[in-house]
């Protein structure tokens, strides 16, 4: 009886229970699963002329869009209002809308978020927020502060609405795109005219050992413009900083140079250290020809055949050239041994050591110490001589085998002839006996 009354009450108050159910369970769900924010800006701007539609197209793959941001997060206004084409409602200054920033306002505009770690860490807890600070110290930033509206700002490199992560190969600042991106301005003589700086950097860089690795061999670890000049703080390294900049990767050479007798004189004469011999954007891979005082020599820029440095440079050249020639002989012999099908593993294995010693000898040149070079090349020469002997022994063994084969063939021929004569004789004897 009691349960029957209860059922009747539930049915009578069903509407109230239903509303309560919705309120308790579904209302919080709206907050737990927020709906996608509506972006009316894209809807309207995609109908306009080309100038307005291009941002909407580019923005599709923009990192800000893929991170869930709307146009209004940068430009303000109300993208969710159903303005029905009334731009005054959507782009209402009262709702925070600001017209697109001018060229010189862009760095500060981007920095509103990109310098705010509290905000940026939501997207990446390890993100850097010092780009704007660095930019202000850059040559670009300094000129921009003086009112120059031609210098690069954020969008010059990152694009305006098609910004991608630097690790995205489609990004204009992806490792192997950087030289082209910088050269958009820096290789344009007309654009760069008033700055009175060279415009052949890209041309030189493409010929450099760094350019060869990055652009031809696709080695993304090879340095591009930003690795020497900095990213947002881009500036030419001062003469006194060159060894530090190159030393970031070439620390061994840097240490040798710093301890060398040359450091003092380079400082005294204001020579740009590494770049004095390797040049800056061309970054030449120097060879033995660069030593000594010949036409191709870099030592010859300062030294003559008569001065002490020149005499040492010539001796260095001779020592390394002799070792290098011996190494090449070993290489040719080892290839010949391999071509003739003789055992070559041990020779090839030892060639690794010879090659290592040659590289060390070339590297120790940065100490400009004849003693050091002699020490390394002596060890290498001993190794190379033993490799040469091994290769020559194998080639001798090959000759012995060839002669052995010739002798063996001769005896086979002789045995065949004897067999023929024997058969002929037996045949002859049989014919006589048959008579």
């Amino acid at each position: 009886m009691y349960s029957h009354n209860l059922m009747k009450n539930i049915i009578r108050h069903f509407n109230i229970i239903y509303i309560l159910f919705l309120f308790i369970f579904l209302f919080p769900a709206i907050y737990l699963f927020p709906q996608e924010r509506h972006n009316n800006c894209i809807e309207c701007h995609s109908k306009f002329e080309e100038e307005e539609t291009s941002p909407t197209i580019e923005f599709k793959n923009d990192i800000h869009n893929t991170s869930g941001m709307l146009c209004s997060d940068c430009h303000g206004g109300d993208p969710e209002i159903n303005a029905g084409g009334n731009q005054e409602l959507a782009m209402n200054p009262k709702k925070g809308y600001k017209p697109p920033p001018g060229h010189n306002e862009i760095p500060e505009f981007c920095a509103r978020c990109h310098s705010d770690f509290e905000y940026m860490k939501k997207f990446n807890p390890n993100i850097r927020v010092d780009q704007y600070e660095n930019y202000l110290t850059s040559q670009h930033g300094k000129l921009l502060a003086k009112g120059d509206d031609k210098v690069a700002n954020c969008v010059s490199c990152h694009k305006t609405h098609g910004i991608r992560k630097k690790t995205n190969p489609a990004s204009a600042v992806f490792a192997n795109k950087i030289p082209e991106t910088c050269s958009k301005c820096h290789s344009d003589p007309e654009y760069m005219k008033e700055y009175k700086i060279l415009t052949n950097q890209l041309e030189m860089y493409k010929k450099s050992v760094h350019g060869e690795f990055l652009l031809e061999k696709g080695d993304l670890n090879a340095p591009a413009c930003n690795d020497c000049h900095g990213n947002h703080g881009a500036a030419p390294p001062g003469v006194e900083s060159v060894h530090n900049v190159c030393g970031v990767c070439h620390s061994g050479n840097n240490q040798l140079f710093l301890k060398s007798s040359h450091k003092k004189y380079f400082d005294e004469f204001g020579f740009p250290e590494c770049a004095s011999c390797h040049e800056h954007h061309l970054i030449k891979k120097l060879t033995e020809e660069s030593l000594g005082v010949g036409d191709q020599s870099v030592c010859g820029i300062c030294h003559t055949q008569e001065d002490e440095g020149g005499i040492i440079a010539v001796e260095m050249k001779n020592i390394i050239e002799n070792f290098s020639a011996l190494r090449d002989t070993c290489q040719i012999l080892s290839e010949e041994v391999e071509r003739k099908g003789m055992p070559v593993n041990e020779i090839k294995y030892q060639m690794n050591n010879v090659d290592s010693e040659l590289l060390k000898a070339r590297n120790i040149v940065h100490s400009f110490s004849l003693e050091n070079i002699k020490q390394i090349t002596e060890e290498g020469t001993k190794l190379a001589i033993s490799v040469k002997k091994m290769a020559n022994d194998e080639l001798k063994e090959y000759q012995i085998r060839r002669i052995g084969l010739a002798v063996s063939l001769f005896f086979i021929f002789l045995a065949g002839t004897a067999l023929y004569l024997k058969i002929k004789k037996i045949d002859k004897k049989n014919i006589i006996n048959s008579f």
Binding site: C249, S251, N352, D355, S356, S408, F411, I412, L419, K422
Partner: protein, 146 residues
């Protein structure tokens, strides 16, 4: 006349016997060479012995021959074996273990790798090629990772 015939007959017999002996020798020689093992293996090895268990101290390394290339075996402070191809990924110099910095070092251009073979400083652009290490009887065997 009879004597001349006998001498000719015996000459042919000697020639025949000698010839066959040498032919047999030329056949046997390569067989013997085949049966006896060569001084070194020529083919790319699948696995080599890089050393004996117990011969290395903790926090030490040694270079071993892996076919035509050098390999580096490291016995870490934690008592683990790690092996890599010992050619630097910069310009193919031979790298070595540094127990002072517990790292792998290339003397040519001062490149450093950590004990997992990752390039950590200097010019090396890539990690070292890692090799597989396993113990078989008393041997520390090293093979390519396939």
């Amino acid at each position: 006349m009879e004597e001349r015939n006998t001498s000719r007959k015996s000459f042919i017999n000697y020639l025949l016997g000698g010839g066959f002996t040498l032919v047999a020798a030329s056949f046997l020689y390569p067989i013997v060479r085949f049966v006896l093992p060569p001084k070194s293996t020529e083919a790319e090895p699948m696995a080599v012995s890089a050393g004996k268990v117990g011969e290395m101290h903790l926090n030490s390394g040694k270079i071993f021959k892996f076919g035509r290339k050098p390999g580096l075996l490291i016995y870490t402070e934690q008592g683990e074996y790690q092996a890599f191809m010992a050619t630097c990924t910069h310009l193919d110099c031979i790298v070595q273990f540094r127990n002072d910095s517990e790292s792998i070092w290339c003397a040519c251009h001062n490149g450093y790798y950590d004990l997992n073979g990752n390039n950590i400083s200097g010019p090396p652009p890539r990690p070292l090629e890692r090799l597989n290490v396993f113990i078989k009887d008393d041997d520390i065997m090293v093979s390519k990772i396939t």
